[in-house]
């Protein structure tokens, strides 16, 4: 999963979002070791200080933890990852609903569009 960063929002916040996404989607599985700050910074083409800050914040939130000598790991707490995942889902749906409301759909119409599209995709 490549890194997508735009320049009009703090890089730090975007890094947090994307690392969270990588944890939720299993790119970094529970309990796995993360690459070093330097390697991550290089991969994302960002300043190592910024990457460090983002990782520190995720650690504070509990999604990552540091083992003194051996590096940084993803939490083994699957529930916590699930919570983060649900949180992300909520944010996506919130955005979606706002946009649909702007287009003039009410909730019943939205639900019927979703269920008919879901049926089609299953085929």
């Amino acid at each position: 999963m490549p890194w997508h960063l735009t320049s009009d929002r703090p890089i730090y916040t975007q890094l947090i979002e994307q690392i969270k996404l990588k944890i939720c989607s299993g790119v970094y599985p529970p309990g796995s070791k993360l690459p070093s700050v330097r390697d991550l910074a290089r991969e994302a083409s960002v300043n190592p200080n910024t990457m460090q800050r983002a990782l520190a914040k995720l650690e504070e939130d509990g999604l990552l933890y540091t083992q003194r000598t051996s590096g940084r790991y993803v939490t083994e707490d699957v529930d916590m990852i699930k919570k983060a995942k649900n949180q992300l889902a909520k944010e996506h749906i919130q955005n979606f609903l706002t946009k649909m409301a702007e287009l003039g759909f009410d909730y019943d119409e939205i639900l019927s569009i979703i269920s008919s599209m879901a049926k089609e995709m299953k085929k």
């Binding site: 320049s7 009009d8 703090p10 083409s45 300043n47």
Partner: protein
């Protein structure tokens, strides 16, 4: 955090023209800093004062607590806006030259980067394009294990792919003791790797701030803020 570069009331005049006007600035170690300003804003003058090529008209500069001189040249790696290398020399000759000149020069690093950018060490400078010459120069400067890198327009003349590689090199080289100051007006390409920016206009500092703070407060990229501040 300890300071690597400090300016107090730094002023430089050329005749009646003030190139730098009473600049006060403290730059800590371990940062990547963009020195941004339009043409003729004083960027190169500032960098030349730091590298010791010019002397202040008033005020002072301290680098690692020393005035620019022999001591600071050991720890400052400077990329000038114009090449000073002899055209008839081969890249490998120049590498030997740098090895003699600077204790902190790492030839392996230099050869490594030459390979990555597809430059032949036995080629002479005069056979090279302008962009390739610039790459060679930058490779030499980045192959030193310096405390302060002063890069005057490092990416102006090179193609976007090489630009990416150069920025990657700056990130890969990052260490907590060293600060990199990059002067440029090509902002969109480098803003992702910066910690802080210094905006300079007519020899005066207009803004010194962390880039994420700027994005947070203005919702703008550094590039668009620059276009706004320096609107013609």
């Amino acid at each position: 955090m300890s300071i690597i570069l400090e300016c107090k009331n730094l002023t430089k005049t050329f005749g009646t023209k003030k190139a730098l006007d009473n600049v006060n600035l403290s730059i800590p170690r371990g940062r990547i800093i963009g020195l941004l300003g339009p043409n003729a804003s004083g960027k190169s003058t500032f960098i030349k004062l730091c590298s010791g090529l010019l002397t202040p008209t008033k005020g002072e500069i301290l680098i690692d607590d020393h005035k620019p001189g022999i001591e600071t040249k050991k720890i400052v790696s400077y990329l000038p806006e114009r090449s000073y290398l002899n055209d008839w020399m081969k890249v490998s000759d120049i590498i030997e030259f740098f090895k003699d000149f600077y204790d902190d020069f790492n030839p392996e690093k230099a050869y490594d980067m030459l390979v990555r950018l597809g430059i032949e060490p036995k080629d002479r400078l005069k056979t090279m394009s302008k962009g390739t010459k610039e790459k060679v120069q930058l490779i030499l400067v980045m192959s030193r294990e310096a405390k302060l890198y002063l890069l005057d327009e490092p990416i102006g003349g090179v193609d976007p792919a090489a630009r990416d590689y150069i920025l990657e090199t700056i990130i890969a080289n990052y260490n907590e003791d060293a600060t990199v100051i990059i002067s440029t007006h090509i902002i969109s390409d480098i803003e992702k790797i910066l910690d802080d920016v210094i905006f300079i206009k007519n020899g005066q500092l207009v803004l010194t701030k962390s880039v994420d703070e700027i994005r947070e407060e203005t919702g703008k990229s550094i590039d668009s803020l620059f276009r706004e501040v320096f609107k013609c």
